[in-house]
């Protein structure tokens, strides 16, 4: 009976020892992996840092301007290219004009910047409600105008500005 107890204890000791070494080796390998990952992180960070400097260098306004001149030819926005939403007339519901004729109320838009109905001045509300803009009223009943009869304003590329005018 004594032999069996001893054997049990020895077995437990052996198991504990085996477990301990297993954990130990696991910890060592995890430590190695952590050190490797830390080194990699720092290396990556250093590379990101260099790339940030390079990005800033490549984004020198002078260089961007030269690239623009060579490839895309963008120009600074001219004041006449701006307009507010409130300055655009509402589309009339019914029209009394020949198809293909010039839509009344669009001359100003193309000839020149349509002056804002109420310029966006401080103290005033630039985003005034649309119904404040008097909608043109056309008396006689007529067929709805064909979509292609409405002269399209010339489009200009780029930006979120409203293309209501051509650059001078």
């Amino acid at each position: 009976m004594i032999g069996r107890t001893t054997f049990l204890w020895l077995l437990l000791a052996a198991l504990a020892g085996y477990g301990l070494f297993q954990v130990k080796y696991q910890v060592v390998s995890l430590e190695e992996e952590l050190a490797r990952l830390n080194a990699a992180t720092l290396r990556e960070q250093n590379q990101i840092h260099v790339l940030e400097a390079e990005w800033s260098y490549l984004n020198q306004p002078q260089r961007l301007e030269e690239l623009n001149e060579r490839f895309v030819h963008l120009k600074p926005i001219n004041p006449v290219q701006f307009a507010s939403i409130a300055s655009i007339p509402m589309r009339p519901e019914r029209l009394d004009i020949e198809p293909g004729a010039r839509l009344p109320g669009t001359e100003g838009m193309i000839a020149r910047m349509a002056p804002p109905r109420r310029p966006a001045l401080p103290g005033t509300n630039p985003g005034q409600p649309r119904d404040a803009a008097p909608a043109p009223v056309y008396s006689a009943a007529a067929a709805p105008i064909a979509p292609n009869a409405i002269p399209k304003p010339p489009t200009i590329s780029g930006g979120s500005i409203l293309p209501v005018s051509v650059p001078r």
């Binding site: 250093n46 840092h49 260099v50 800033s56 260098y57 306004p61 310029p119």
Partner: protein, 571 residues
Amino acid sequence: MSMMGNNTPQKLEGATKQALEIGRTRLLMTGAIFLLAFTVIGARLADITVFQGGAEPKNHAAANPRNAWPTTRADIVDRNGSLLATSLVTASLYANPRQILDSRDAAQKLITVLPELSLAELQTKLTGNRSFTWIRRHLTPKQQYEVNRLGIPGVYFQRDERRVYPQGPLAAHVVGFTGVDNDGLAGIERSFDEVLKGGGRGLALSIDLRIQHVLRQEITAGMKRVNAIGGAGMVIDVHSGEMLGMVSLPDFDPHNPTSLDPKTLFNRNTLGVYEQGSMFKLFTAALALDSGAANMTSTFDASKPIKISRFTISDFQGKGRVLSLPEVLVYSSNIGAAKMALAAGSEVQKKYLGAFGLLRKPTLEIPEIGAPMVPAQWKEINTMTIGFGHGLAVSPLQMASGIVAIANGGVMRPITVLKRAAGEHPQGNRVISQRTATDMQKLMRLVVTDGSGKNANVPGYLVGGKTGTAEKVNEHGGYKRRAVLSSFVSAFPMTNPRYVVLVSIDEPQPIKENFGYITAGWVTTPVVGRIIPRIAPILGVSPVDDQAADVKARMYVNYTSAKGRPGASVE
């Protein structure tokens, strides 16, 4: 021995009994002390292992990006986060000549990667009985890789750090530069040296690189056009006091600041003090209006020059008649401004100019700040000449910050080159009333629509301003002939000014296109007229129709009322 055989406790007496009792007491005491000690140790053990986080000790941690930042000096970025200054880890190459086996072969191999080195010199460096010699500082990563690949024994790398300015000279006078040991020597690099050395992820300036670029490009072009020797420009947000652009030309490469002309290091905006000329008439008008010495309809007799002791104050292309207050600014009359200053008086003038920050050294976060040159005695003649901007020299920074106060409705606020949080407006001191400020804004607009500022009248942005052409002082204290500083201070949009732009061109030369004029109205206003339409869309200022009735009404000044009517002229 007989005593020892009889050892029942009851029978012990005298000295023996006493000794035994002492022994017992001692044993008891020792036991108690040990018990106490073990209790304390036990309690502490339980405390440490159970109560105070009895977990395994943390011997390892992941690399923290903030703690483990590869460089020691923090970055400087602009208001949008673009890098202005950063530190890069570099490798410097050195050799131990004692370990070099074949110096000729090693030198030849190194030359293939570093062709700028001289073969003979390198070979001498690598021979000899020394143990250290630099081959080259700050290799690029590519060069380092290639040197490594050569596999020359006795050649090593040393970790090094280098300050890099990716934008080159663009914001050089604000950012400044560092020396070989990465110590800040000028600009923000110097004034925030300790902060930058403390690491962290960067210091954000108020400068906007795009605006900085526009300023630099247009001022350079403007200088070239009139063969000027220098130029300077600033853009300031009138509500937050943030400096959005500050350019002083000629400028320098911060990587190599000492190689060129030392004049390039001079910051004209903050360190240079100049008589600002006619731009000062804005302060004269503001103080006369605010103190009640004059109103918008006051008139001043500018029909003949003022003679005082040995000086004569006369007008450049004068009208030779009585002028209203707005006309004094529109025609930039020295006589009118002198009389206006006189009407307010020396004490009032001193008080207001002091409040506008023109009489003491201004504050800004860079170390290169010049103090104004204030006359020792403030006599009547000084009051008159200062009225039109002569006899008091201030820096463009001071000039601009005074105009910022007029533009924002009358409040002096500290100017800064550091980014403020959005919407943060520093506490300011009111110098003039809102009413005076509004009148001044109308007058500034009038100068641009009807006066010397016409060339800056870009449609849509309601520019207002005042020109100033000041003769420069020569070495002997007199004025130089035909050597002037032509400046234009402006604000826009004038219905509710948001930004102040000040541009100066130093020593413009007469050219045919300007009909020989070197005045600011010909030299500087066109530059501002090109800057504003380029920066306004960046700053989110939407153009308005200048001809709209309500805009015209808000800017209306009845200024010709004095024509041919001497009226209540001062004098």
